[in-house]
Assembly symmetry: C2
Homo-oligomer: 322 residues x 2
């Protein structure tokens, strides 16, 4: 069963998706559903002996193109609706043991174009309000399949954190007459202490207000609002910047660093002219062997504690950039 | 170093607290800082051979009564301010091996009165805007000391999730002329499927819109906005309801269940007449051996996925209530 229930105290929707309890959980290597199907082997999700990059719909989706009607009626202040939308899996490579950081640059350039294709197509579905491209990497953040892959959720609403970001962008413009992204990026570049890499298209920076110890944002310098609006040079530069950050992460502690990678873009509908294409990385590690948890203050109040100084984290990460 | 940095894209503050990296991390039993100091033993945080309930200021606080000025200057759109406030530790018992669920009812009744005392006193500090009483329980959510204890953060601002809840309460009243807490609680009671325990003072319910698989809210039936406004009968009833939920949790899977317990009350300042005293529990388990992680959808977009049906979770929990 799958449905959206309204949370009236947070003014957003919660996805209920009970079939996900049965999803494949850390299968043995021989039974990885994201590997190519070998001749004579068990049929994986991908009926081909090899592939470059593959996208398919999640077998255990939180959102579906033609959802069942909700099984439980709503409350007056907490209505329910079908979980319309799309959940896709993006398999980066046929190599089970690799990772995003280990992909070649031409491969990441192709991946960015796959994302652009999916963003554009999914955004055109009438029910879809926000196309969210992301990657969960590493057991520490609950990844159930280790084969290198990312996901795309095409939500039928704008999720709470994204809605807040979009509102903040507009509020800032209304208060100042300038744009938050340009002002903030200008301040980071002129300060310089938290910038870990930059070129003419993107800046990679540990934000002044980082919530996670090794949080990095990769931000388009110019007013690109989405992949759909990005030209070839911007797409290539994004590939290079993301790969640079992921590779720096792997050098930071000497192991393949887990992270959440979240791409923020403009929503499917028009009216969000202050949005900016950017990617936020949140690694869960606060030291090489300790994790940051979202506990009482974060989960119960929404107040983040960052146990590191963003200036120090940035210096460490900058030293790891190739 | 410790300071508050403004997050302009989320319109809230982030606490930077670098000294916390050195905090005590899962010490061996003989060196538990929350045990009584034994004659001839090492000096713990509590210079007494025994105690009932002890409150003291956190040695590794995110917020302090007299903070240092910020070490790094702010940005125009991301100002910085001193981390004024108070972080207290509430040690529930001198018994290292116990847990909140295992405390006797009279003990929990005393603990609730300790919370009331601290809420009232901390709320009177001029810099304090919100007194947040909570407990992180279990290694799975990152607890660094296993001795049964909770914490209190007296924030100099209203954290984002709490601010959203307070705004939602007001928005609902403005839209309907009725109060969200009364309407929602009435709907839950008349439906009944998600209620796991109730008496004349409190209702324990898996909310219709639960974000976590075994989330439970313990909600005051009448318009009590805080512990400060709670009479003796209400305090006793709160103790009984919280203990009942914690004990049901321990029976659910046959082990002492980790959770975040978050008490929401009215802020220190007046003007929040729609707030309601309640306690939210978020256990991280989605099955006996699998955890729910806050990954891409939750951390990167703010969109929660609940892998269980609240009606089913409530039935399982209700069967565990003594």
């Amino acid at each position: 069963m799958s449905e959206l229930r309204y949370h009236p105290f947070l003014e957003t929707w919660v996805m209920t998706a009970t079939h996900r309890q049965d999803r494949t959980f850390l299968p043995p290597l021989d039974f990885c559903p994201l590997c190519p199907t070998q001749a004579g082997g068990f049929p994986t999700e991908i009926p081909a002996e090899d592939f470059d990059i593959v996208v398919f719909e999640n077998r255990f989706p939180s959102l579906r193109r033609n959802p069942e009607p909700p099984a439980v009626e709503g409350l007056a202040m907490a209505p329910v609706r079908p979980s319309s939308g799309v959940c896709e899996v993006v398999v980066y490579t046929s190599d089970h043991a690799g990772s995003f950081a280990e992909l070649s640059l031409p491969k990441v350039e192709r991946l960015v174009r796959v994302w652009k294709d999916r963003y554009t197509e999914l955004s055109s579905i009438p029910e879809v309000e926000y196309v969210f491209i992301f990657e969960n990497k590493g057991r520490e953040i609950g990844v159930t399949l280790s084969h290198p892959h990312g996901q795309i959720y095409a939500y039928p609403y704008i999720p709470a954190t994204l809605a807040q970001e979009l509102a903040s962008e507009r509020n800032y413009w209304e208060a100042t007459g300038t744009t938050l992204w340009d002002d903030w990026l200008g301040a980071e570049l002129s300060d310089g202490r938290r910038v870990i890499a930059e070129d003419s298209e993107f800046v990679a920076v540990v934000p002044y207000f980082a919530r996670y110890p090794y949080e990095v944002w990769v931000v388009a310098r110019r007013g690109v609002r989405s992949l759909a609006g990005a030209d070839e040079a911007t797409l290539d530069a994004l590939a290079e910047a993301l790969r640079k950050v992921a590779r720096a992460y792997d050098r930071l502690f000497g192991f393949s660093l887990p992270y959440v990678m979240a791409m923020h873009q403009e929503p499917a509908a028009a009216g969000y002219e202050f949005a900016r294409l950017h990617v936020e990385f949140y690694p869960p590690h606060r030291t090489h062997d300790k994790l940051k948890y979202l506990a009482g203050s974060e989960a119960g109040a929404g107040a983040f504690i960052n146990d590191t100084l963003p200036e120090s984290s940035a210096a460490r990460l900058r030293a790891c950039v190739e």
